[in-house]
């Protein structure tokens, strides 16, 4: 494992890798000459909610995108449920950052949800009543049922985020990967999203979220993965989300007072 873990005397949990929903080994991704992610290992715990946290530009989103093959890494290997990524695509649902698409695209909310069903629909399969019903059900779960026929550009930021989540729900995956789902959304949306994620966890699904709000980590998540280009710490919130690891990940960028506050909150 990594330095920190080694220093703390923990042993390497290699046996977890084989069945981990998402296991990353030796991942390095670089834009130009500076690695955004350097030699990172990650083993996601099944049936838990994991937060990937770290300062801005620490490679959080990059790690996720590289794990999914959206950006190509310089080195590194990814297994999903112990299998190569390509064989397990159907079991993964990904929620990209809201800003990554053109919301002026001519399409309705319901059409976006149906995109999540494209594996079931295949190339030419017709959208039938049951597909529609399933899409509506997913919209219902994020509280967006009445917006089904809206053009996506007419939604607020929080509503757009919920639409993206509903599309992921439609995929009916076992592993959900979300990139900054709480960035710039209203409180009601944040509540709705976290409720849905918790229900996924209860259903035995694995959830991984790129997260930026340290104050809510302990409330929302079971596990954390701290990254700042390199992995800083990985483990349960109690183990790995400590003043020491935060100081290590955020360095001078996180005010000491804030760290104290968080660690006090953690008890």
């Amino acid at each position: 494992m990594l330095e920190l873990a080694t220093v703390q005397g923990e042993s390497v949990e290699e046996q977890g890798v084989d069945h981990s929903p998402l296991a990353i080994r030796g991942m390095t991704v670089s834009y130009g000459q500076k690695p955004a992610v350097f030699s990172v290992d990650m083993t996601v715990q099944p049936g838990a909610m994991t937060a990937i946290i770290g300062p801005n530009g620490a490679g959080k989103s990059t790690l996720l995108k590289a794990a999914l093959g959206i950006v190509s890494p310089l080195s590194g290997q990814v297994t999903v449920f112990g299998q190569p990524l390509e064989d397990q695509r159907a079991r993964i649902a990904y929620v990209p950052q809201r800003a990554s698409v053109d919301w002026d695209f001519p399409t309705r909310v319901i059409d976006v949800i149906l995109m999540g069903l494209s594996r079931q629909l295949g190339l030419l399969g017709r959208v039938r009543a049951r597909h529609k019903a399933r899409a509506m059900d997913c919209l219902n779960r994020v509280g967006m049922r009445e917006f089904a026929d809206r053009q996506i550009g007419q939604l607020s930021g929080g509503q757009q985020q919920r639409v993206f989540l509903a599309r992921a729900l439609a995929q009916d995956a076992d592993l959900y990967l979300l990139d900054e789902p709480f960035a710039g959304v209203d409180a009601a949306t944040e509540k709705a999203i976290i409720a849905v994620l918790k229900s996924l966890k209860e259903a035995g699904k694995t959830v991984v979220v790129v997260h930026h709000d340290l104050a809510t980590v302990a409330d929302y998540f079971d596990h954390v993965f701290l990254i700042n280009t390199r992995k800083v710490a990985e483990g349960s919130v109690a183990q790995a989300f400590t003043a020491e690891t935060l100081q290590s990940a955020y360095g001078g960028r996180l005010a000491t007072a804030q760290i104290d506050q968080i660690s006090r909150a953690l008890g």
Binding site: E3, G26, S30, P35, F38, L74, S75, D104, S248
Partner: protein, 401 residues
């Protein structure tokens, strides 16, 4: 023959064309740089195609009022007006509708050009001197150019250049950071329009030499070429002017040296030659340099990762890493670390630990920003600082395999 052309000994007209093409090349290169830095290179494509209806309408007007339809100044004035209208249409489409700039450019260029073709066929049927050589404006034609025409081009090219030089500062600022420029109180929209006006002027001046389809090349290629050689905007401007001028001069010379070598295309191809050389061989941004750099970088990443894995007793999965480690003498053929390899691995892990201290320490914030997983810590910290960090880490730790 080529030498004579290049030393301007091929007669009056050829000389004037060469001078005109050089001036045009310089002013197009310089103007185009601002367009390129503003990421709007292809706006020039819309502007140039939009000149055609103006040329035709001017011709028809000149004939209707009993003048000579081939009066160059009149035709160029017409082309300027319709290019300006095209530019306004494009701006309106991007500002007031949901169309992105690329679609607006394409719409304006195709529609204006199409309308120009309609007018061309109307002129064909007017029976005044069989189209009056207006097709020359499509691809340029320097053959049979009048002395007065050449003068217009030379003076126009020089005038454009002077104008560019006068407003280059605000244009640079707007191209670099429009929001900052606006905050500084610069009228960004008007400066943009002025820039477009200059592009239009270059286009109009260049119509006769390279034609409206190829003038775009003169505006874009030198700027892109120059960008490979420097990161400073003032030097990009200078180099683009140089590349454009040289292409204009050499192209005009080459085309005068033999038959069937049309001026416009030759200038463009010479210009592309400069571009291709820069793309491949420019010292920092060139492809060759970039490929070498990337390979070196990839090697460093893999070796470093391999060393860290060795130090922590982890299995190495990547075949490339293993191959590189073997070649560097870090591991033997059977995958076991050599003595030297062990030492290097221990050092790598220790450096990682040192970096970790540096990155979690407020006092080292500036240094910590330099971390990229590869940099040797000795290059950023003094020996004393490293000793201090080592003291904080504690005694040398054995690596638990």
């Amino acid at each position: 023959m080529l030498w004579e052309a290049l030393s301007l000994q091929l007669g009056y007209n050829a000389t004037l064309v060469a001078i005109g093409a050089t001036l045009l090349g310089v002013s197009a290169g310089v103007t185009g740089t601002f367009l390129f830095l503003r990421k709007r290179a292809l706006v020039s494509d819309a502007i140039s195609h939009a000149t055609l209806p103006g040329v035709c309408l001017a011709f028809m007007a000149l004939v209707a009022f009993g003048g000579d339809g081939r009066n160059l100044i009149g035709l160029l004035a017409g082309s300027a007006v319709s290019a300006w209208v095209g530019l306004l249409c494009m701006n309106w489409l991007t500002r007031h509708t949901r169309l992105a700039e690329d679609a607006a450019i394409g719409a304006v260029l195709s529609v204006f050009f199409g309308f120009g073709i309609v007018l061309l066929t109307v002129i064909q049927t007017m029976g005044v001197g069989r189209q009056a050589g207006l097709e020359g404006f499509l691809l340029g034609s320097t053959a049979g150019m009048l002395w007065a025409d050449a003068m217009v081009i030379a003076i126009g090219g020089a005038a454009t250049l002077v104008l560019v030089m006068i407003i280059r500062r605000p244009m640079t600022m707007v191209a670099f950071d429009p929001e900052y420029a606006a905050a500084r109180g610069l009228p960004v929209h008007r400066i943009d329009l002025a820039m477009m006006g200059l592009v239009m002027a270059v286009t109009v001046v260049g119509l006769k030499i390279v034609g409206l389809i190829l003038i775009v090349a003169l505006l874009i290629i030198p700027a892109v070429t120059a960008r490979f050689w420097t990161d400073r905007s003032d030097r990009v401007v200078l180099l683009a002017g140089l590349a454009g001028g040289l292409a204009g001069y050499l192209g005009a010379g080459l085309s005068a040296s033999a038959p069937n070598l049309p001026t416009g295309p030759i200038i463009v191809l010479v210009s592309f030659g400069f571009f291709a050389l820069s793309l491949l061989f420019a010292p920092v941004r060139g492809v060759l340099a970039a490929v070498l750099r990337h390979l070196r970088f990839q090697r460093r990443v893999h070796i470093r990762q391999g060393l860290l894995a060795l130090a922590q007793g982890q299995k190495i999965y990547e075949p490339l890493t293993i191959r590189l480690l073997r070649r560097a003498g870090v591991v033997r053929a059977d995958g076991v670390a050599t003595d030297e390899g062990k030492a290097r691995a221990a050092k790598a892990l220790r450096d990682e630990k040192r970096w970790e201290i540096v990155r979690s320490d407020l006092a080292h914030e500036a240094t910590a920003a330099l971390y990229d997983g590869l940099r040797d810590i000795e290059t950023v910290l003094t020996l004393d600082q490293i000793a201090e960090i080592d003291r904080r880490i504690g005694g040398p730790q054995e690596i638990t395999p």
